[in-house]
């Protein structure tokens, strides 16, 4: 028999675990020891809680399946998340619920849907939709000694423009298991979990890869938009800063919070960064490629990648495609000449497409992000049954 939500909430869970993920306090309560143990395997206990309210997650048994296996329900800050879940589905829902609560209740940072990493004190953003390879790339780079902020969020301080850590466990899809096994990246659990849209997933504790794996706040020097293609050679194509700004704005979870400040904050980010579209292939090759191609430029942020005027200079290094750069209007006019005419173009990211297509963690309903609420039905809603969701 399944309890109602109020009945479930009023019951005292058997065990509570207080943890801290970066600056965020997360408390998990459950009447299942094994679920708490899974969580504790990834996140350290909070000995000195950070200031600010904690996120409270509750996992409670809710009857049994026809085969006699226990079923569960998950609650985040008192709201029910998802329906009745099997044991193997719990952890992804916990992760999903915590992400959702962060978006809804933590306006301190501008939150982008991106993996964020650091190397030599310089911040890297890998922005894009689910499935573009953010987490796998982050895990690969982490294994090579890069520092970690997060595999799902870029937390940008609106005043300094610096990245800040939210070092959650990396969530890796089964398709990337072999590549990470080859890098000897340890997964936190012997078993895997099931995420409804992603299939089997495993989790990596970033701190298992080194005691100093978590990055300190740092400025963003590189903005990359990765796309995984299994057979492709890694490749970088420069894009204009304005184009990067458009896509970053489209990847922003809480842009409705920042409103007037959204473009100035992200504008400052891309002004201080070099922006590329990245084709990612084999993980090891891609990581090595990034290290070899981006490191020399990091020391010289205003190099020839994006000159102020004229065409982009050809870069002879393999794997880098140059692209045409529109001349600067003011400079040309100052010379008393006319500009080469370029057919006017307007590229639009539709509101719903921007949220549903590029800026949602897997299974997240686009309406929920805009309202900051929690889905009343299935977070993987795509069936049209959810009266809140704009189904993908």
């Amino acid at each position: 028999m399944i309890n109602t939500f109020d009945q479930a909430r009023s019951q005292t869970p058997a065990r509570t675990f207080q943890s801290q993920i970066g600056e965020l306090n997360v408390n998990l309560s459950s009447d299942s020891d094994s679920i708490v143990q899974d969580f504790a395997r990834l996140y350290p206990p909070s000995l000195d809680p950070a200031p600010g309210p904690a996120i409270h997650m509750v996992v409670r048994r809710q009857g049994r399946s026809r085969l006699g296996r226990p079923l569960f329900r998950v609650y985040g800050d008192g709201e029910e998340i998802g329906g009745t879940l099997r044991r193997s589905e719990i952890f992804p829902y916990l992760e999903w619920g915590i992400n959702l609560r962060i978006i809804a209740s933590r306006p301190k940072y501008l939150q982008l849907h991106a993996a964020s990493m650091a190397r030599s004190g310089e911040g890297f953003i890998f922005a894009g939709s689910s499935g573009c390879g953010k987490s796998t790339l982050a895990a690969g780079l982490l294994a090579r000694g890069w520092k970690y902020y997060c595999d799902e969020f870029a937390m940008i301080h609106p005043r300094t423009g610096h990245l800040h850590p939210y070092p959650k466990a990396l969530c890796i899809k089964s398709g990337s298991f072999p590549a990470l096994h080859r890098l000897s990246v340890p997964f936190a659990h012997r078993h895997h979990f099931v995420k409804r849209l992603k299939g089997r997933v495993g989790y990596i504790d970033p701190q298992s890869l080194g005691p100093h794996a978590i990055a300190d706040p740092a400025p963003i020097r590189f903005v990359l938009f990765p796309k995984y293609e299994s057979e492709a050679q890694p490749n970088l194509v420069p894009i204009s800063r304005a184009h990067a700004l458009l896509e970053l704005a489209g990847c922003t979870f809480n842009r409705h919070v920042y409103q007037d400040q959204l473009l100035p904050i992200l504008g400052d980010v891309v002004r201080g960064a070099q922006c590329f579209r990245l084709t990612a292939g084999d993980l090891q090759h891609t990581c090595a490629f990034l290290e070899s191609r981006l490191s020399p430029w990091a020391a010289e942020p205003s190099s020839n990648i994006v000159p102020a005027t004229g065409q982009l200079e050809l870069d002879a290094r393999p794997g880098i495609e140059s692209s045409r750069w529109i001349p600067n209007r003011r400079d040309v006019l100052r010379r008393g000449a006319q500009l080469v005419y370029v057919v006017p173009t307007v590229l639009t990211l539709q509101s719903q497409a921007a949220f549903a297509g590029t800026s949602l963690p897997s299974g997240m309903c686009s309406t929920l992000v805009q309202t900051g609420g929690l889905c009343a039905t299935d977070p993987d809603c795509c069936s049209g049954d959810c009266d809140l969701g704009i189904c993908k």
């Binding site: 204009s240 800063r241 304005a242 184009h243 700004l245 458009l246 704005a249 489209g250 842009r255 409705h256 409103q259 007037d260 959204l262 473009l263 100035p264 504008g267 891309v270 002004r271 994006v306 102020a308 005027t309 004229g310 065409q311 529109i326 001349p327 600067n328 209007r329 040309v332 006019l333 010379r335 000449a337 006319q338 500009l339 080469v340 005419y341 370029v342 057919v343 006017p344 173009t345 307007v346 590229l347 639009t348 990211l349 539709q350 509101s351 921007a354 949220f355 805009q370």
Partner: protein, 112 residues
């Protein structure tokens, strides 16, 4: 960098007639210029738009007073382009901005 020589400004009778002011930009639209291009962010619809250099130069003249002719002349003065092409593109931009909901609706109605 190669810059093409200026082309003569067309006579006024070469410019297609369109004397109605183009509709003004909506107040809810925020703009951010970067290296000659610009991003528009509509606070009301949450829509995001990237304008290349030409579209941005035209967008800035959507003040509710400039006519399509004036915008065409501006393009012809600034860029190496003939006036019929420029006029076509101005008209297309009016339609595009209107479709994207970036212009004040009452003025759009008037313009149409």
């Amino acid at each position: 960098m190669a810059v093409n020589p200026p082309i003569p400004t067309p006579r006024s009778d070469e410019i297609p007639h369109s004397e109605q002011p183009v509709p003004p930009r909506r107040a809810s639209v925020r703009e951010y210029e970067l290296d000659g291009e610009a991003v528009l962010y509509d606070l009301q619809t949450q829509g995001l738009h990237l304008l290349n250099q030409t579209a941005w130069s035209v967008w800035q003249r959507f003040d509710g007073q400039s006519t399509a002719n004036a915008l065409t002349e501006e393009l012809v003065r600034t860029f190496r382009v003939d006036s019929p092409t420029a006029h076509d593109h101005v008209e297309q931009l009016v339609a595009r901005f209107t479709q994207a909901g970036l212009l004040r609706e009452d003025d759009v109605d008037q313009h149409i």
